[in-house]
């Protein structure tokens, strides 16, 4: 497969809190109040987006650092996941329909074993409604992360008179 010389799309930089851990990168979107966890493969591709590398350069890096075969497909798969999580500023022009980057299909197409499959790019949303209730009060973001019936009027941090209550099928902060 010919490696693509096009530049990767620009990674989003604004309104994000980024925390690199040993084997994953955590990202908090301050605008949408969403938290994401990027595994090593997705994080490496995202880093390459920050550095405006080309697809071909990214493929070489992936093959070198993570010992991944057929890395070009994985680069596009990572871009698909990053774009869905709104961590890119533009939509990449994918060489094939995005439906082909479904995890199971990629595993089958590349003939990956269980050991390699865990290296497929992953951008997971971090959702833990119970955790959002761990504080003695909820932030607006934590309240928004809940769904009824979990919002039972918990106080909103730093805002006397505001509570987290259900509004339709969502939880929102309102005066109570």
């Amino acid at each position: 497969m010919d490696h693509d010389a096009r530049r990767l799309p620009q990674a989003r930089k604004d309104h994000l809190v980024i925390e690199a851990l040993v084997d994953e990168t955590l990202v908090y979107d301050l605008r949408r109040h969403k938290a994401h966890c990027l595994n090593a493969t997705a994080a490496l591709v995202w880093r390459c987006c920050h550095e405006r590398r080309s697809v071909a350069e990214t493929v070489v890096l992936l093959e070198g650092e993570l010992r991944l075969p057929e890395a070009e497909t994985l680069v596009w798969m990572a871009l698909d996941r990053l774009e869905r999580a709104r961590l890119l500023t533009e939509t990449p022009s994918f060489p094939v329909p995005r439906s082909q980057y479904v995890r199971r299909q990629v595993i089958r197409a590349l003939g990956l074993g269980a050991a390699s499959a865990i290296l497929l790019p992953l951008v997971d949303s971090i959702i833990s409604p119970v955790a959002a209730q761990a504080g003695s009060c909820l932030t607006v973001a934590q309240c928004d992360a809940l769904t009824p019936p979990a919002c039972t009027g918990q106080p909103i941090c730093g805002s006397p008179g505001l509570c987290c209550v259900s509004r339709g099928n969502r939880c929102r902060d309102r005066f109570c």
Binding site: E19, L26, V27, Y28, I126, A131, S136, G158, P160, C176
Partner: protein, 352 residues
């Protein structure tokens, strides 16, 4: 098995899981898979999920739903810690811009003693300002940027038994990113952590972990006389809290008040509290609960004070006497206070 025994057993498991969880390096944990699955939602509710995860990840526990949930908490809290730090820096900047020097306690002041940022959960930011500058601080934080910081502004240290100038003289600056944040002196902070925890009935085990982490990080010149100053009853409360941290969580640290036998009810009340699913501080305000009969009954049930909260609430001693009179007295005091604020709550304006 009676409910009380069951709650105590759950509380003991919480304590066993959290023992030493703030240390570097952390020791592995031996816990059965079914016990872990059972206690995990409780650990998360109590704000102790990330600390539990820290012990589990060195324990060789097979991946399961419980480990996944605890890891998610750890990830979320790691990110929230960074967001919280940003807010703190912004709030301190806003207040200093208005000529007010804030003092931070709890929150980041406690979290900085842990080996990683996301090990304890954050809520709002507790900042103290001089009483005469309180209106200026309120105005500075009323802007949209200030409101985003979610500051809980205080103007007096009820737990510290000393003048504001004295508190400020013992405070110190610690760097956070590009700013220096003023924190309470180590003696004042340990005292505040202990009394604050007891005042809320010690319902969150992470508060006792804060005390344990503080005990193991005391500076060489730590002045125990200052920490235990003032009313002897306060010294007794602090000594008991330190005793709890040592006995339940294995906290170390040098010096300290002489070891004392903890009242039997104290340990039992704490373990039962840690075993409970609910606490009124994580539920709607009473004004909200009163909107329905069921809500009001639940609200009242949850507000029955545990023996620790009741004793501290009425300024009682930690001795061997029964706690029921303290619980009744504290309940009455709180009911009267609530009744006094009810008109403003009904009008929809916050009483504070």
């Amino acid at each position: 098995m009676s409910r009380s025994v069951l709650l105590s057993a759950r509380g003991e498991l919480v304590a066993r899981i959290l023992a030493g969880s703030w240390r570097r390096p952390v020791l592995p944990l031996d816990v059965a898979a079914d016990a872990l699955a059972d206690i995990t939602p409780q650990l998360i509710r109590l704000g102790a999920g990330a600390l539990a995860w820290r012990r589990l990840c060195v324990s060789g526990v097979s991946p399961c739903r419980a480990t996944f949930d605890l890891r998610q908490v750890y990830r979320l809290q790691t990110l929230e810690a960074r967001v919280h730090e940003r807010r703190l820096v912004e709030a301190v900047g806003l207040l200093r811009g208005a000529g007010v020097e804030p003092v931070l306690a709890k929150g980041w002041a406690a979290a900085r003693l842990y080996p990683e940022p996301g090990l304890r959960p954050y809520g709002d930011i507790d900042l103290w300002v001089r009483p005469d500058l309180h209106p200026v601080a309120v105005a500075a934080l009323s802007s949209p940027a200030g409101q985003r910081c979610r500051v809980d502004l205080h103007d007096r240290f009820t737990q510290l038994d000393c003048a504001w100038s004295d508190v400020l003289a013992r405070s110190r600056l610690e760097r956070l990113g590009e700013v220096e944040v003023r924190l309470l002196g180590a003696e004042d902070h340990l005292r505040l952590l202990c009394i604050h925890m007891l005042g809320h009935g010690a319902w969150r085990p992470v508060w006792l972990c804060d005390v344990a982490a503080a005990l193991e990080s005391l500076p060489d010149d730590f002045d125990w006389a200052r920490c235990l100053r003032g009313h002897p009853r306060h010294a007794q409360w602090i000594a008991c809290t330190i005793g709890l941290a040592r006995q339940l969580l294995g906290a170390g640290g040098k010096g300290g008040p002489p070891e004392r036998r903890l009242p039997r009810w104290l340990l039992a009340a704490l373990l039962r509290q840690w075993g409970r699913d609910e606490h009124y501080m994580a539920t709607p305000s009473m004004a909200f609960a009163l909107r329905s009969t069921a809500g009001a009954l639940t609200g009242l049930r949850l507000r029955w004070p545990n023996p620790i909260q009741a004793t501290v609430g009425v300024g009682g001693p930690f001795n061997g006497l029964p706690r029921l009179p303290f619980q009744i007295a504290e309940c009455l005091v709180r009911t009267l206070r609530f009744a006094r604020h009810l008109p403003s709550l009904i009008r929809g304006t916050p009483p504070f």
